[in-house]
Symmetry: C2
Subunit: 256 residues, 2 copies
Amino acid sequence: MLNIQTTGLTSPISSGWLPAIGRTRFKPTTDDRWSDLKEVCELLRFDGRLSGLDENLLFRRRRVKAGQSVFLMGQDFDGLYVVRFGNLKTAVTNDDGCEHILSFGMKGSLLGIDGICKNQYRNEAVALTDCDLIRLPSSELFSGARSCSDLEHAAYWAISREVLRGQTSYVLTHSAKSEVRVARFIQLQSECVASMGYSPRCLTLPMTRRDIGSYLGVTLETVSRAFSALAHLGILEVVNRQIVILSPDALRSYEG
Amino acid sequence: MLNIQTTGLTSPISSGWLPAIGRTRFKPTTDDRWSDLKEVCELLRFDGRLSGLDENLLFRRRRVKAGQSVFLMGQDFDGLYVVRFGNLKTAVTNDDGCEHILSFGMKGSLLGIDGICKNQYRNEAVALTDCDLIRLPSSELFSGARSCSDLEHAAYWAISREVLRGQTSYVLTHSAKSEVRVARFIQLQSECVASMGYSPRCLTLPMTRRDIGSYLGVTLETVSRAFSALAHLGILEVVNRQIVILSPDALRSYEG
DNA sequence: CGTACGCTTGAATTACATCAAGGTAAGTGG
DNA sequence: CCACTTACCTTGATGTAATTCAAGCGTACG
């Protein structure tokens, strides 16, 4: 097991004037351990209009090292997390200890939504690379204070997008052949990095073959074989976790 | 194709004093075509405290006949729906016309969440039986008006629960053998009807074998064979869509 | 009455899991 | 620095579970 438990505090700072860890403040600052609502909305790509009322709201950041977890299953809910940078996976682990990957998070992803209804996270989020996250504490999300209406609207929007992504995953992982699933997975990853402004042709996968397999509902050997097959067809070039998409069109239209 | 398109209006009523279709009002009424926030929260099983400020908010109901759709993929978002009674399925249909079931809705389910972020429904909801739904219009959800804070909080909570259900589905439909999937599906259905106060031993499935198969990621023949196998083991009794659970313990612990 | 649809069951085929072996890369301790 | 370990990945051989194709039955409905 790689997952090392990390609860609550990460880098324990406490410069005098700073508020208690996790609390937001209205005091403007240039301290790089805080993010404002504008940055949060940009990360989420929330394109709605902001009233401007909340622009002084600040949110605490949190760094998580590769292999560490952001939260664990069953842990008390303490807010949603927006990914500033880094890659993560979310997973549920069932009784007999076997892990099941639900999603892969990256810059702009929103984590922890499932924690609201039972006030307890129902999956775990594990950093695949070093990560920087922004915590949106539940106190601000549900305060009902008028100063948070922008945040609430953005949160609705982002949650809906995560639901939509979940649907996409669901369909992806139920589509016919395993080779097609892997092809679509790579396609999806490519679109993700493209939407972040990077080259859609070259990917560095942050997750293992086993993770991909768990996510797609196949074994790691099947994933490996699918990569080899797609490489053999001249669609991809695969060296460990470095993927080069040689033929984007063929990848997009690949149906086995 | 069973799905008959139904857009917007259902039973066109227009008794003088009623507001325009789909608008909420603060005027108290005993008209049974409207539901108040209290009923909505009860249906959702939202157990949070309500401020009481919104108790006069009224929401328009909508009846949908079996086989008709509540909304279609790509249709403009016009709010979330809470199921008052009846059974539904939500599905996405991809380019080559093949349908993929995402979830089965029943009393208390929340539909349409994925529509918020693109302002457009991204799946379709089809009634399996005659249904009665309550519409929560987006105008109220995002109004920012203080009078809606209870609704907003309940909506967050319910959305989170739907996300959680989605995760459960996801894991369910990725677990090992098809017979186990079917067993867990029946188990889940049983728990659902039990939580609504009905007998958990006797189920009437509203969906076809094909729907179940699509949901679980197997073919309809496989579902049928799984039912037969579970019946042969003395765990279930299956007559068409009538299911009697003979051994709840055996069903719960069934692992193939 | 006939057609359509949903369901079951059987036989043949296939895609995937499983088991197993070997290879590479990163990290650890002597 | 090198042996040693460990985790990750690839590839092959074999078995098996699920799909596919096909036939037949019951029920609903025009």
